[in-house]
Symmetry: C2
Subunit: 470 residues, 2 copies
């Protein structure tokens, strides 16, 4: 058999979230060790319950045959069983009528139009926009429904990057989807460094510094990626940081890629969308959102969207940018229809007055409170860990503490691997996301049950103080 040379970009790309440490954890689990998996933002794998209303609707969409029976049962309940909510029945019927062809057919490549319309309305409402003349309203034609948010990010990067002379600015640390996709597309990753000690804030100097280095290497910087609330740091970006990114992008003709999938995961800070902050300024903006995070947590169902505003003008073609994105989505045929339906539900939560409202509200509150409690519990335990420091208003599903003290010849990878071996706690080393040279971190997703965290935190603290003082 002849051997082949394969695409070097794929050989080179790295994806730590599913890298050596989680792979070792999987092995240990097979051997019967109790693993506390804090390496990935996968809430339902760790016991988070899905929102009942979502699942009722998705279930009826998959099997519309039972809708009439559900109506009957709603009127004639069987004593010992709960019924599917009337609101779920109504919404399912409405969706099936609007979708015409149900879940089994390919949709428009961008996704069902009425769902894109709903997304646009949701964005305008979220950003509290009245119909002021100056504000640019969201346009359903510029909304793409995608298999999770990753697919949207990849499409934009693939379009913007032609070769290694094209640069994309990404925060360090970052979610490795970005470094991996830039590598995969053959572009150049340009690092910028949020100020950790100032709660990971940004300012013009930080951004300029990064851009100047790129220019020195003759890199044409196309866009800046901002993740807010951030993955892996969990930090929420303040208004001043956001405005300075926008000014910077405008001055330098950059597009902004705003990864806002954690916009509902806020525990002490305020979320300001880039769409709202840009207002009517003519800066190309690609915003990403997803049904995988927030209180929804439906990672496996792969629902997400990409919204584009002020699509950039193109030098080397007459084809509008949106049409090129459409071409890319056409080759994929369409995103999965359950994911599309879930995005619809995400942007249309049950309203007061419907029978689904109370339980929905309670479930949402429980999930978010639980996340807040777990984040607080872990963050408080850092106080007892020698040289462990954690910055930023807490958002997303992660804490990203800095290991100020480590023995010589050790690093955060070794630390995390030893932590796993000794305690079963699986976290990801900071170097997997990138970090300022000479610093060491870890990312912990605060998703396992509060009981299992209460169990493991003392062993972690003990491990830590022994490890760093060895």
């Amino acid at each position: 058999m002849k051997s082949v040379t394969v695409n070097q970009n794929i050989i080179d790309l790295e994806y730590a979230v599913r890298g050596p440490i989680p792979q070792r954890a999987a092995k240990l689990k097979q051997q019967g060790k109790n693993i506390i998996p804090c390496n990935i933002g996968n809430p339902q794998a760790l016991g988070q319950k899905p929102i009942t209303f979502y699942r009722e609707v998705l279930s009826l969409l998959e099997n519309p045959n039972i809708i009439e029976r559900e109506k009957y049962l709603y009127q004639n309940p069987i004593n010992k069983f709960d019924n599917i909510s009337n609101h779920a029945i109504n919404v399912s019927e409405k969706l099936l009528t609007t979708m015409e062809t149900g879940l089994g057919a390919y949709t428009d490549s961008k996704g069902q139009y009425f769902i894109r319309e709903s997304v646009a309305k949701f964005i305008d409402k979220r950003d509290s926009i009245n119909s002021s003349k100056s504000y640019l309203q969201s346009n359903p034609d510029n909304v793409f429904l995608t298999d999770g948010a990753s697919e949207g990010a990849k499409a934009v990067l693939e379009l913007l990057i032609s070769d290694k002379n094209d640069g994309i600015m990404i925060p360090i640390p970052q979610y490795p989807l970005y470094s991996a996709t830039i590598k995969r597309c053959g572009g150049t990753q340009i690092n910028y460094y949020p100020n950790e000690d100032n709660d990971w804030a940004l300012n013009k100097e930080i951004l300029e510094d990064s851009l100047q280095k790129a220019k020195y290497h003759k890199i044409d910087v196309k866009a800046i990626v901002v993740i807010n609330p951030a993955n892996p740091t969990g930090a929420i970006l303040d208004s001043s940081s956001i405005m300075q990114v926008i000014d910077f992008a405008e001055e330098n003709g950059l597009s902004i890629i705003a990864d806002e999938v954690y916009q509902e995961n806020l525990y002490g800070g305020e979320f300001i969308s880039f769409a709202k902050a840009i207002n009517n300024r003519k800066i190309p903006l690609f915003s990403l959102h997803s049904a995988s995070k927030g209180y929804y947590g439906e990672c496996g169902q792969r629902g997400g969207y990409l919204e584009v505003r002020n699509p950039p003008k193109i030098n080397n073609s007459e084809i509008p940018f949106i049409n090129l994105l459409f071409k890319l989505s056409s080759v994929n045929l369409c995103s999965n229809t359950i994911g599309q339906a879930l995005v619809y539900l995400m942007v249309n939560p049950p309203q007061k007055g419907t029978d689904a409202f109370d339980i929905f509200t309670k479930e949402k509150r429980t999930i978010l409170d639980d996340l807040f409690n777990k984040a607080t519990l872990i963050r408080n335990s850092f106080k007892n860990m020698d040289g462990m420091e954690c910055f930023g208003k807490i958002g997303a599903l992660y804490l990203f503490p800095r290991l100020n003290k480590l023995p010589d010849n050790s690093n955060d990878f070794d630390y995390c691997m030893s932590l796993l071996e000794e305690t079963g706690l699986c976290v990801v080393n900071g170097s997997g996301f990138g970090q300022k040279a000479g610093t060491h971190h870890l990312r912990i997703a605060f998703l396992p049950s509060i009981e299992s965290l209460k169990n493991v935190l003392p062993s972690w603290t003990e491990f830590h103080n022994k490890y760093v003082n060895q």
Copy 2:
């Protein structure tokens, strides 16, 4: 706003199936014209009913809360409503136990292991393999669950192609996923031409001829794509053609990419999988299958798989080929879980003795008979169309007749556009798939209801004879 230069490969790529003619059809439909959409293999958009058993299971997986009630109702039926089959309840419970985390969690990047195991068993059973020592059994570790089959094809091409010196042989005509993806990856498309007049058969000379041309242009050919049953021609490849492709690939050290998504759509020919035909020969094979076609027709739910055998050795890395594919799938996190579950159901049809068996068998038979009848009806009508000729044993969801007679200054694109304007029948021009220079074709998907076809065929025949004789 600064304008940007975007990736030329994406500007250049074409995707006719959702190109100008279908776009015009969508406009006409908006204006109230009756459109018969034969441009895309999207069965449920055209009234094909989903398989009841699949939907029952998927529905219960989305809402496990109702399973206990369904059991109760099975024992205590309500007079006027059908129950969910007992088999669906059992399978759902089994799946939920095995999946542990339900549909809401990210799975292993390759997909749930037990589903990959099921796929491997299905392949071995399909190919009637007893455990003979020499035969290479399917390996679940080399199975990847994907969002439809397209995703698998893209991953393989992305790995095999480094730059424009890398060539991929594809049949002409072909499904534009391949030309588009090769373009997108920056590789070179190497055409080979199945012999239309001999029912689109292949032989060594055809393949050698194509390879020599590539070598003359210093192209390093990496793989050959075969689509069987074929899209767009609908032809089923005979055993001799398949063996000659295999010999050719072996002699020249090529990988085979076998797109076998239409393996259940056979109306007069036999399907021979490449896995079976290769047997224990050490030829790298990438086989694709999907829940979108066959009698399943669940396009929107995006379930598919890629099976790899004899993964090629790699020159420029120590990392095994399978691990590189795994890395790519990691960046995508995982394919959607409903699609994964559907693949499980596809490879585990209800068996005799279960209460779902009879209705499943009837539904399957009805769908396939209906497709056969529609294909036959259309193909027979070609006899009344001047210079219309159609070759090949019918498979897949398509016919691809040749327009032997066209007025000067016309071509198949003009023909199809006029056909749409005059009759509302939307088909795709052969040039959208590639065709031998100087020939003209169209692709018609035989999916609309037999009534609507019976309605439109006389107008088409009339249009045709007038058009070609103008």
